[in-house]
Symmetry: T
Subunit: 156 residues, 12 copies
């Protein structure tokens, strides 16, 4: 039976692993939502939004790998399967079909806003139990808030 | 209302769009399944399998983008949302938690085998309606069958 | 006297060479038209359209080289001179002078649409006589249809 | 006491050094103004304008280095300090705070126009005294006029 | 109505825009002619000439972009359409069909010679009206004369 | 009216935005001061100091972009205009004219020392209101303290 | 016992595996023959032919890997041993010793011609049994026919 | 006498410098131990372990440079000499001679575990005295814990 | 008749050319054998062995080019044709078909051992006649012995 | 007999070719002198001067190629042989043997000063006969004057 | 029990393995000493010496890997542990604490001199037993003697 | 007075320094001769010979740096000044003016032949006194003999 000796106490580990598992689901869903709109956006700003969305995908994919491997490093099995993402994501429903460019930008403002709010809670929750994990989530939040600004500015 | 004038007849378009939507769901799920096992594999072959799985992820992500944009090019909105993937994928259930390296390899043999079988049906289905789409699916199938061999050989 | 022994029968060679010569003229003109609008576009979407057009130029230049060298490989002299292009292109007249961004996008939708229609005929015409040439034209068509979508979406 | 033996007569050196010092101040300010608007622009064209402005920054930074080192090469100490730039720049006042995208483009049209006018005077002034310096300023002017066109076209 | 405020007087602008439009047509045609012979050359020196011609194409394409955008920067719409090139180029007729390597080299010597003669006139014509444009044409001429030497030396 | 919904309370936002605006002004001025001395340094250590200063410029430019965009991400307009920098910088006066190499190194020791002291205050001030911003300032401080050491060691 | 479950029927697999094994032997021999002449060519065109041959080697090595791994992907063991190549290649005997440049070019025209003829048979043979394999052989044939043209043109 | 004015109080500096000096010794020894096993490992997993160890070496070398230069930046002389490392490292004895692959993996699990435990103490110790140093050690610990997981997983 | 004036006496040339021709045949066969096993290996260590073999192929191909061109430089025609390799190689028979990973590693240990023994004889044989050739063979031997160790260690 | 039809009159050609031949000899000698001191410099500033000199070598080699090929482009045979350089260079005698760093810097100040003075005469001489050549020499002079400043500053 | 069949006799192997083990210890210590001074050097030449020392580190690390793997290739376990290095190095004691730049250069002159003297003995000792090993040590010595010169010249 | 303590005895040093100084002069002259013909070659093979000559220049420049720095490393001042090269080179007189391609190739065959003959003497002369220097000259000779073959083959 595979057991990693965690550097954290059981209680701290529970808190941290919930933060990481939650972050993983949010980030995978963010990558899927951004790709979905990347493919379905239409309108005069098509090209700008199409490209801007791929930068969100790159950020979300990179960070989802980091948080999943961070969980593994603490001895906790990460779960990034489609069904887990479908039910656990903090991002609201993305409607199917074509989406005009203004709505596409708004959808990202909402999606990023939802994920950021949950990440800020995770920053607070992990500070005491594991500053190493907290530092990773701080870095992710900085990147997400930068993307958030860029979509807000594009709708400004 | 956004309408793309498709180069295909309605009937052909229906066949082709089903093939592309099915391929999209399979490839996104393949990327998620391969990442899931990439994070959860344990055992003496950990590093080889961990790296080999990321090559599958790269293949699956690249081709999912190609088929989604191919659908858009034909005027059909692609659907790659988590819930759509969770219910529509041709890949069986991936169990949660750690997975030893031999089981990890077997899981990929099965996942790739399932996707390949469906891709071969799509090659046949699209030949007449749209040889351009068929050519894309042929290329994808060649890559998947190469990965399939490598996991089979690793279990040989 | 320079003669290349073609792997095709005379009849097949005639069909294939017409397809290749036609594709060459269309692709060179597409590269010139896209550059013309790249230089003359004005309006709020100037930068997006300006950059998007250069991607069409890159595609068209690369594929024109491929089809010309494919003709040569079959023993048929390709003709890509300005006068040949001016009279033989399948793309309609491009008006002179500045063009606003919406009209620029529409012009590309039309130009790409015209070339794609002829390419699809060439796919059908070359299937039996030379599947190698057909495969090249299928690849070109896939790229053109992707560009076509992107300009349609930008006007959507 | 550090003295560089200049290849120019005193009179010519005075003319040329004024041209270079003036160009230095204009180019540093251009880089600061472009960054200021790069950060403060909002509106549907946010991303295009944001990126386009960074290209101006790159141009202005590179050429400011060239003219400062050209002054040094002629034995004249260049002055690129903030206070010197604040009082000596040929660019008008940039208002503080957020700026919508159309106003951002107009601000660059004005800023580039102001700098270009002064650069053209420097081309005339340096022709006789130092064709080497003139050639540098000609190159800078060509780049600025290209940026100027792109912002004008974006407001066209 | 889109109008760029040109830094030149009307008279000077007329002279400069004719030079740039002429240069544009010559350079586009040079790129087409060099590609035409690149595809049609035969003989023992095939590979050398084939490669050398592509370097001319790269030069001609790069400089045609520069002169077209220079015209735009001065507020003059450039015209690089196939029909315009077919009737306005300074390069003589390129015969159709295969061309042996010595004739290919001679054709380039002639084509480059014709374009260079016209470029030298443009250097003289633009000196007073716009030294910025002149500097661009001087750079182009230097490159063309280097290519001219290499083809002359190859026939030496 | 463009308003970004900040993730911070008004009070925290005020504290954090002052820290960011102060850091922005300091970093821009540091980049200008380092360039000023980069151009004006003389003496046997010219080349070493000249190159070392450009590394400070690169650091300062990169971080000034980060803090300005961090302010924007929190909904606060950053101000990096020359006049703002000229009056608000924490770096003392840089004398005009040539500067010998030892004095150049000392000037950087002083400039970096002044900025570091203010950055350490900002680390303390932002810890509670926004750990994301604090983390950014910590990273900047680490880089500045490394440069500080290198100039101190060069005067040791 | 290692067995790969092939996606093809036994009959189809037999046809396809013969095509792939034959292609493998031809391509390895082509790489050896091209290297042999690369080392032994003499005459005024030495450098051109020497370099051109290495491009054939690169093509042949790359494609030999592709067809061998395609066979493996279908569950068929590829055989690329020297003795197998020596007896099974479709290329005629290459004489030992120095070879003058015209003869070197002719030898490649012959070798490429022989391989192309067999590849075209394989395109026909694999169309029904396995379009994935056929697509691979079509791509190889396109490359070989391009090389064939270049050597024919060099002897033209 | 060379003295760097530290931004820290004497007491804080003492705490931080002990943490940095300890980290330096641990990281240098980790790089030496990982290289030692990189050269001496034998067994079926030789290649995987051999490569994985070089990634540890790269991490350890990079971070040892960072902590040594951080100490210098605070005015404290770092000591990374062989004898200092030999007596001060937190890693237990590495036996001489060949080591089979499972033992090699276990040795790294132990070595990384020992260093991580000490790093976590340093995170706690430096939090108050110098958050800049703490942030550096947090980053190092994250990397070491990721390597730790990978070796544990490989023995799982 | 092509004759290169060799810098060696006839007797020395004979010795050296035999060494080089023998090395050429061994190295080409090594590249073919390594590829053969690269394609046919199966078992848990598939991926490691598959990749390790391609590094042998790269080494063998690079050095075979060096020794063939060294022979040519001395005026001796190298012979690297398939039939020559098939009969002259110092490597024993490679069985056809799939090979499990341990046997694959053993096969390389044997093949490299056989080639190394012959290379060491060539080092001795060429020392007096041509130290330039000897130096080349020493370098090759160092590389082969490093590969030899790595496969031995993998079977250790 | 090889004759290039020059675009210049005979008189102009004579003036221009003297300028180019003179520049060629000066630049080759500059590259040899800079290398000579690069190898022979000693003293505390060894590394800085050693590296700075190699940048002069790179500049001088690049520009010598440009002027030689410019002469060829005008139909004039360039002469860059050692004996021609030894007698025709404008640079004074470089003493043999080791040279301390201050003397090395002074030697470059003198060498660059001598070449620059002659280049400025060539700028004046070529202005009327050939502005294309003049532009090349202006660019070279700008580079040399930048190097000149850097060595003067290093001795300041 | 892991045994590599060495290509050398027992007696020769003993000589060669002592040379390699000695070289390994010297090179690891050289890398540690150079890093130690890289961090501790102070004085006007700080930056030059700091950078020059990192080049020694790169050389020493690269060659230590080569000699360790050479020992392994001959079947001899290399020992590069800290304690082994601390007692076996041929380099004298490096004093702790800051070191001024002249002393830093002298320390490297001494350290390199000591290692070179031992390397030259190893060249002599390995000539007969193993010319492959000798060739490796000759290459290392050439690099060390080049570094030695550069530090001597910097103190000249 | 700058003195490097040479690792060689005075007698050996004299022999080795003569070899290195002679090699330096030959290699610099080879670079100048190859450039001279690179600029002056005419004829159908112009492009091939022109490019091939630049590869000789690159080889000769790189190796001249190596031998000069090797001399410095042994404490011997290298002399690479134009006058020294003009009188000391082992290459015969290169005639001025244009040279047809066959003569150009022959000139290189002769020049390389002359340098190689002297290099082989230096290999013999340095073997005992300094195997490190000998190894450098062996490497140079291998490169020169490869170039020699290529020019002989081109005249074959």
């Amino acid at each position: 039976m595979y057991v990693v000796k965690s550097p954290l106490s059981d209680e701290n580990l529970k808190t941290v692993s919930e933060a990481l598992q939650g972050a993983l689901v949010d980030l995978i869903d963010l990558s899927l939502v951004a790709k979905q709109i990347h493919w379905n956006v239409v309108g005069p700003r098509f090209r700008s939004v199409h490209l801007q969305l791929d930068e969100v995908v790159t950020t979300a994919r990179g960070h989802s790998d980091t948080v999943a491997e961070r969980a593994a490093a603490l001895g906790v099995s990460p779960d990034g399967r489609a069904a887990t993402v479908a039910v656990g994501s903090g991002i609201g429903v993305t409607p199917e079909g074509w989406v005009d460019d203004a709505a596409a930008v708004s959808a990202l403002v909402d999606a990023l806003g939802a994920v950021i709010a949950r990440m800020r809670e995770r920053i607070a929750a992990t500070e005491e139990p594991d500053p190493v994990t907290q530092d990773i989530i701080i870095t992710i939040t900085a990147d997400l808030e930068k993307h958030h600004w860029m979509f807000q500015a594009a709708n400004g």
